[in-house]
C-alpha cells in the first residue's frame, strides 16, 4: 500500500517534471526568439553607428583624392622659394601627417553637415539617434573638437550635440540604397561666405551673369586669405536667402573635376577660377598664383523681386566624404 502510494507519487512527480520541462523549453524558445530580434536590430544599428564613425574619422583626417590632386597642382605652380610655395608645402605635409596619424587635418573640425540619400521607408529618427552616438564617440576619440557652443550662454556643449548640431539633410531617392555624405566646414571659411542681392549699385552689378561674376569676384577679394585659401567656392544663383545657402553648400558636394551640365555656368565656373588666380592673393593671402582651387555654381528659381547670389567659401582643407551602405549597414564603397 505504502509502495503503491510511493509509486503513484513518483508518477505524479515525473509528470510534473515533464510538464515543467516542456514549459521551460517553451519559455526558453520564446526568450531566444526575442533575443534574436533584438540582436538583429542592435546589430544593424551598431553597424550603422560604426559606419558613421568611420565616415566621420575619414572625413576629418583624409583629404579626398580630387582635392589632393588640385592641391599638388597648385604647389607645382607656385614660384620656388616664396612664402606661397612654403605654405603649399606645409599644406602637403599636413595632409600626409593627418592621414598617417589618423588625426584631424585641421583643429577646427567645423559644422558637421550630413546629407542622407535614402529609399522610401527609411527611419529618419532612428538614424538621428545613431548619428548622435557616433558624433559623441568621434568627439571622445579626438576626430572632432569640442565645437558646439550655446550661443547665448557661451557654454561649450562638449560633445557636439545641440540645437542645429549636427546638421542633417535627408533626401528620399528612387534607389534602394542608402548613401551618406559628410562635410566638415570650419568657421574661418564659413565666416567669409557672402550673399549679394542684385542689382548692386556699388559694384555696378546687374541682374545677369556679368553681374553675378562681379559680385563673386568681389567676395573672393574680400575673403583674401582669411578663409584659409586657396579655397573652393560653392555658389547659388537665385532661390531665397535660406535656400541659397543650403544649395551653395550642396554644390560643394560635387566632384572638383565634374562639368556643369549648363554650358553657360560651366564657362562661368572656369572663368571665376582663372580670373581669381590673376588677383595675386595666393595661398593664405601671402601673394601667389593660386587663390582658388575650384568653383561650383548651381541655380534655383527666384521671385520676380529677388535675385540673390549666395557664396559659400570652403578652405583648402576641404573635408567631405561619403559612403554607400550595404543592406546590413556596413560600408560598400566610398564616394570620393
Amino acid at each position: 500500500m505504502a509502495k503503491k502510494k510511493k509509486a503513484t507519487k513518483k508518477k505524479v512527480a515525473k509528470k510534473k517534471v515533464a510538464k515543467k520541462k516542456v514549459a521551460k523549453k517553451k519559455v526558453a524558445k520564446k526568450k531566444v526568439a526575442k533575443k534574436k530580434v533584438a540582436k538583429k536590430k542592435t546589430g544593424s544599428d551598431q553597424r550603422m553607428h560604426d559606419s558613421l564613425l568611420e565616415l566621420i574619422r575619414v572625413t576629418s583626417t583624409v583629404i579626398p583624392d580630387d582635392v589632393q590632386k588640385v592641391i599638388l597642382e597648385a604647389l607645382k605652380r607656385e614660384e620656388k622659394n616664396t612664402n606661397a610655395e612654403y605654405a603649399m608645402n606645409i599644406i602637403k605635409k599636413n595632409i600626409e601627417l593627418a592621414k598617417t596619424k589618423s588625426q584631424p587635418m585641421c583643429q577646427d573640425t567645423g559644422t558637421i553637415l550630413i546629407y542622407v540619400n535614402h529609399p522610401r521607408g527609411f527611419d529618419q529618427s532612428s538614424f538621428n539617434k545613431i548619428l548622435k552616438k557616433a558624433v559623441v564617440k568621434a568627439t571622445k576619440l579626438g576626430y572632432l573638437r569640442q565645437n558646439s557652443v550655446d550661443t547665448l550662454t557661451g557654454k561649450n556643449e562638449t560633445m557636439n550635440i545641440g540645437a542645429g548640431h549636427p546638421s542633417v539633410h535627408f533626401h528620399e531617392w528612387g534607389k534602394g540604397q542608402v548613401e551618406i555624405k559628410c562635410m566638415l566646414k570650419g568657421g574661418g571659411c564659413e565666416n567669409v561666405g557672402a550673399q549679394y542681392d542684385l542689382p548692386n549699385t556699388n559694384l555696378e552689378a546687374g541682374r545677369d551673369l556679368d553681374g553675378v561674376r562681379k559680385v563673386i569676384l568681389d567676395a573672393v577679394h574680400k575673403a583674401q586669405g582669411k578663409g584659409c585659401g586657396p579655397g573652393i567656392l560653392g555658389i547659388t544663383i537665385g532661390g531665397d536667402r535660406g535656400s541659397g545657402f543650403i544649395e551653395s553648400k550642396e554644390q560643394l558636394l560635387r566632384k572638383l573635376d565634374d562639368k556643369n551640365s549648363n554650358a553657360e555656368l560651366a564657362k562661368l565656373e572656369k572663368d571665376i577660377v582663372e580670373t581669381s588666380n590673376k588677383l595675386g592673393i595666393g595661398p593664405m593671402g601671402f601673394g601667389g598664383k593660386t587663390t582658388l582651387l575650384g568653383c561650383k555654381i548651381g541655380v534655383l528659381n527666384r521671385l520676380p523681386a529677388s535675385y540673390f547670389v549666395t557664396i559659400s567659401y570652403m578652405c583648402w582643407a576641404y573635408r567631405r566624404q561619403g559612403v554607400s551602405l550595404k543592406k546590413d549597414n556596413t560600408i560598400q564603397k566610398w564616394v570620393y
Binding site: 599636413n94 583643429q107 569640442q146 565645437n147 582669411k226 595675386g280 601673394g287
Partner: protein, 190 residues
Amino acid sequence: MIKLKFPFDEEEIRKLKVGDMVLLNGKLLTGRDAVHKRLHEGINPPISLENHIIYHCGPVVLKEKGKYEVKAAGPTTSIREEPYEWQVMRDHKIRGVIGKGGMGQKTLDACKEYGACYFHAIGGAAQVLAETIKSVDNVYWEDLGSPEAIWELTVEDFPVFVTMDSHGNSLHKDVSDQSGEILKKLLSTK
C-alpha cells in the same frame, strides 16, 4: 630663417620685417575670442603675459592617462580680435600674436607703438603645427571650454611668417590693395 626663444625680447622683435620666416621656441600661450573678451573687460590674466606671444588657436586636446595631449593645433582667424588686441599689447606687454588672415590698422599701430609683431601660421596645418608642441604645461580659464581656454605650451621650431611688423608694414594691406587694383582693371576691360 630666424630662431626666437621665449621670453621674447622687444629688441629682437623690432629687428623683424615683413616676409621674415621665423621658428619660435619655448613657451606659447593660446588665447582666442573669449580670452580677449575677458582681458578687454579688465579681468586680470591668470598668469603674466609679459614677453609672451599669444597664439590665436583652439586646439583639440585629449586627456590620456591623466595627461593632456594636443591632437591638432592650427591657427584661427585673427581679425575677430581686432577690437581688443591693441589693448592687450598696451596693457600686458605681449611681444606678438600668432594667427591667420592678418589683422587691421589698430593692431598694426599697436605693434609699432608697443613693440610687437603679427606672426602668420599656416591655416589648416593643424598636424604640422601640433608636431612642434613638445608639452602641455598648464591650462587656465578652462571654464571657457577647451577650445577657448589658455593652454600653456612648449614648442620647438614652430614655423611662422612675419606678415605685420613693428615698423608699420603689413603684407595683408599690400596684398589687399594690389589685388583690389588688379580686380578693378579686370572688371573694366571686360
